[in-house]
Amino acid sequence: MFWQQLVNGLTLGSTYSLVALGYTLIMGVLNIINMAHGEIFMIGAFVGLYLVTYLKVNIFVAMAGAMLASALLGCLMEMLALRPLRRRAVSHLAPLISTIGVSIFLESLALNLFGPQSQAFPTELAAVQFELGPIRITLVQIIILGISFGLMFILRFWLAKTRVGKAIRTTAENIETANLLGINTNRIIFLTVALASGLGGVAGVLVGLSFNAVEPTMGLSMGLKGLAVLILGGMGNITGAMLGGLILGIAEVFTVAYGASSYRDAVAFGMIILILFIRPQGLFGKRQGGRF
């Protein structure tokens, strides 16, 4: 029972981590909270679903398609809703409000395009199960764990070692200095938003697969969870987002398994309210500066 729940928690948590990474990347580089991230995640899930349903493509191709579509959507958002705000000095709450606008726009758009009902992936992946001692693990869970951990490690490595990764970290550290050092910060911002949104899109397909349900309102609840992880792990802290997601996933699964199942959605926010009061910089955050 315990090990089974742990695996379930890790699977759920790894999708939270992927979503939270999107928040964290944008937070790190742009210093804003992208409230529309949950909705970009939801659109990604729908793109994946429609690719599988109507074009009958392989699930991995669908994930790539979802990644591409949400990355494009992210770029569009950056051009229309964020860039105009950067051009002039506005209150630091302006980008927050602007992305809330994008979020309700996208949710309502999805409601009109795809309908309010929950739709399922037409695959038989969930039926395939493996027995590993006391644990039963489905193929879907293996795909989710593989893809999300794989993506997280690639991201980690890419940020640490490659030229572009270093440029992103420099921009996160200080955007003016990065500019002076000859980094095209506008391009880096674009790239970061695309990357964050792309990760969100993949997470959308993974979550759609694991719950076998894709619906327009899934973005809001997932977005709020991702936000909780962002706070839990510390703003703009990549490791924090990864571990924070896993912690939240495990905490939620255990809350459901040992009693209070109807309070599941309150776990995330109960946790962040607690964290904000006890350790506002997050579990893995430093007190000041030093992102990534």
Binding site: A81, L93, P95, S98, G101, L224, F269, L276, P280
Partner: protein
């Protein structure tokens, strides 16, 4: 006149009033520069407390509504003490989280009747109608009793709103109001000037919650039914929009915002599916082109100058 005062128009006018009161509530928290996204949560506490008091405990409405507001205010002080140590986006997220927690708790408690919500709440209109008929008044010239009672509700709401506006204007000229403005302009500087920022921020937060709670109680007694969905994230966004569209410099800003945003969906009935899309686009455009909202202090000064000159000539 009788045509103008049909039930539909009166109902819309009533909703405009309640939303305007919500606008005042977000104005008060914003007047110290705090973005709190918990107003829907406070509204929910007010509405549920009030509905439970009248439906289950049989308290009269005029007592239950202020009690609902006080309950919301009390909770806001409890969570405000630690929450107001947070600033900017941290506070916004913590209060957003608070709203979600309230929603989940309401969804799970027995006394709030879970997802079904509380129905059969006596509406203010029928209450007033009963009082009128107990005096033997059922026809008023060309108006029906129903019209008259809704009209009276509207008058009551108008009085509440007028009092709130008066209160805010007086507040702005007082010591407290100046402290609010100083904190909004620069919190550290205000603290250096000897202003107890925690106290004033908490005060603004609790006042906002009180008014949101009262608005919640009023809306419970206007709509006959409340459910957890009425006070979810979308309600928060709507309240935020009042302040963003109207402007949060002056108390009249969010009220105008509430007026526009309550009337707009009625005018655009045919586009009702796209209402939230329009709201979203509106938020983005406002932030890009006029982040201070439609009505700012400069706007008022400009029109005052223009009108003043006009009258002299």
């Amino acid at each position: 006149m009788a045509i103008l005062l049909n039930q539909y128009y009166l109902q819309i006018a009533v909703f405009v009033m309640v939303n305007a009161i919500l606008g005042v509530s977000i104005y008060l928290t914003l007047s110290t520069g705090q973005l709190s996204l918990g107003n829907a949560g406070f509204m929910s506490i007010g509405a549920y407390t009030c509905a439970i008091l009248t439906v289950k405990a049989g308290l009269p409405v005029y007592l239950a509504i202020p009690l609902g507001g006080l309950a919301a205010s009390f909770i806001s002080i409890i969570i405000g003490f630690p929450a107001l140590r947070l600033t900017g986006i941290y506070l916004a997220i913590a209060t957003l989280g608070f709203g979600e927690v309230v929603r989940v708790i309401v969804l799970n408690l027995k006394i709030t009747n879970g997802a079904l919500g509380i129905s059969g709440i006596p509406t203010l209109g029928t209450k007033i109608g009963k009082i009128l008929s107990s005096f033997g008044l059922s026809k008023f010239g060309g108006f029906s009793a129903q019209q008259v009672s809704t009209l009276l509700v509207l008058v009551i709401l108008l009085l509440v709103l007028a009092f709130l506006i008066f209160f805010c204007i007086r507040l702005n000229r007082s010591r407290v109001g100046r402290a609010f403005a100083a904190i909004k302009a620069d919190e550290s500087a205000a603290e250096a000037m000897g202003i107890n920022t925690t106290y004033y921020k908490l005060l603004a937060f609790a006042l906002g919650a009180l008014i949101a709670g009262i608005a919640g109680g009023l809306s419970a007694h206007l709509t006959f039914f409340i459910g957890p969905k009425d006070f979810a994230y979308h309600r928060t966004v709507e309240i935020l929009l009042y302040a963003v569209l109207g402007g949060s410099d002056l108390v009249i800003g969010p009220i105008v915002g509430a007026l526009i945003l309550t009337l707009l969906p009625e005018v655009l009935r045919s586009a009702s599916n796209y209402r939230l899309m329009i709201y979203g686009a509106l938020l983005v455009t406002m932030m890009a082109f006029r982040p201070q909202g439609l009505i700012s202090e400069e706007t008022v000064r400009y029109w005052k100058g223009k009108l003043g000159r006009g009258s002299k000539q």
